[in-house]
């Protein structure tokens, strides 16, 4: 380091040459980094455009599939027998599933390219949990489970993106309800165990996740082997979207699970989201 050199001595000519060469190296490196950053930006923009186009091209024929299926189910082409109706409903369900995958893929890609806009406001976690409960009302009613929602004392409003938190909680709650054949699902918000911020925990007594899968469960299609209680498949993208959303919010998400005993997902969020509009590194 230049500062560490004794000032009483004049630098030798060898040192001067080295300094000049080092400065040139640094300039070259900076220029290369600048160019690479620009290229990456262009690649990212192209990738987004490509995904937007793919989404458009997939939705267009799906529109016809959904349309004609509904047309038949509505009786436009005459009365249906029960078996015909049942099979058309299966087409309809699968078309909906395909649409969910398309939507999730778009979400995931936007999150990966750091293009997800963040809208920070004061967020009351009681309202978030209430919204999660209301949104899952039908599913909760359909499952014979003890479902509780609790906000512990000492949890104050945070500054974050409410819609994104709701998306994460909704996703975790849906998973918990789907993968719990009997017992309970508990959603709890509490002050963070370390530092400022909050934790939202979704704990179930469900099927659990084998240890070897716990490491990959947040990767895209990392849980493709798991199926919902009625045999429907998830999109395999929900948890990877949750993980990335948590990162965008400056937080994180982790899982503890015991196969056959249940799983606990914990979302950690900072009290105040900083660096708005920019996804943190590594998301």
């Amino acid at each position: 380091m230049a500062d560490a050199r004794p000032t009483t001595e004049a630098p030798s000519s060898a040192d001067v040459r080295t300094d000049a060469a080092a400065a040139e190296d640094r300039a070259r490196l900076r220029e290369r980094l600048r160019r690479q950053a620009l290229e990456l930006e262009q690649v990212s923009a192209m990738k987004s455009q490509f995904l937007a186009n793919i989404s458009h091209e997939l939705r267009t024929p799906l529109h016809a599939v959904v349309g004609y299926t509904s047309l038949l189910l509505q009786g436009v082409s005459g009365e249906l027998g029960p078996e015909q109706r049942e099979k058309l409903e299966r087409i309809d369900e699968n078309a909906s599933h395909l649409l969910m995958i398309i939507d999730d893929l778009i979400d995931l890609t936007r999150l990966d390219s750091g293009q997800t806009p963040v809208d920070v406001e004061e967020v009351d976690l009681r309202a978030v949990l209430e919204e999660a409960r209301a949104e899952s009302e039908e599913l909760i009613a359909a499952r014979d489970l003890d479902v509780t929602f609790e906000v512990e004392d000492g949890v104050s409003a945070i500054h974050s993106d409410r819609a994104k938190i709701e998306q994460i909680v909704h996703n975790l709650l849906t998973n918990a309800l789907e993968f719990t054949p009997a017992g309970s699902v508990d959603v709890r918000a509490r002050p963070a165990t370390e530092g400022e911020g909050v934790e939202i925990e979704v704990a179930d007594t469900g099927v659990g996740i084998p240890e070897e899968e716990q490491g990959t469960i947040f990767e895209a299609f990392g849980q493709s082997e798991r199926h919902f209680h009625d045999g429907r498949a998830g999109t395999g993208l929900g948890l990877s979207i949750c993980k990335r959303l948590a990162n965008v919010l400056g937080g994180n998400i982790r899982v503890e699970s015991e196969p056959g005993e249940g799983s606990t997902f914990t979302l950690t969020l900072p009290q105040t989201l900083k660096n708005v509009g920019r996804a943190p590194e590594g998301t």
């Binding site: 989404s55 458009h56 939705r59 529109h63 959904v66 509904s70």
Partner: protein, 131 residues
């Protein structure tokens, strides 16, 4: 019903998507006119004065954004109800359609009965003309 049937102009270059919506709306009692591109859509809108337009956005000749702007700029069609019906799902595309003058934006895929509900809402109809 003695009144004239509400008329829907459906502009879409994708034939199956156009036909399925046309068939459903006809079944529900609407008069349906179809156009395969933006230029044809504009021509029919000016000539036949529909009550509502279902406008695809990515269209050949004149695209749906431009067609909507031209309808809004013309005395004959500036009050016309225009619903964008598009396979573009991003928020910025939705905003572009609203900025162009669309009253509402519906993303494909959509079940025809949900689309009809929106048509009814835009026209202030309590029930389908066929009911």
């Amino acid at each position: 019903m003695s009144e004239k049937k509400p008329t829907v102009l459906l502009v879409d270059d994708f034939e199956p998507g156009r036909e399925v919506v046309a068939e459903f709306l006809t079944w529900r009692g609407y008069e349906v006119i179809t156009a395969e591109d933006g230029a044809q859509g504009l021509e029919k809108a000016f000539e036949l004065s529909p009550d509502v337009v279902l406008m695809d956005l990515s269209l050949p000749e004149v695209d749906g954004w431009e067609a909507t702007r031209r309808l809004r700029a013309d005395e004959r069609t500036k009050e016309l109800k225009i619903i964008a019906l598009t396979a573009h799902a991003l928020e910025r595309e939705r905003q572009r359609a609203l900025d162009a003058g669309c009253d509402e934006v519906i993303t494909k895929p959509v079940a025809p009965q949900d689309l009809e509900e929106e048509v009814r809402r835009q026209l202030g109809l309590e029930k389908s003309p066929g009911d």
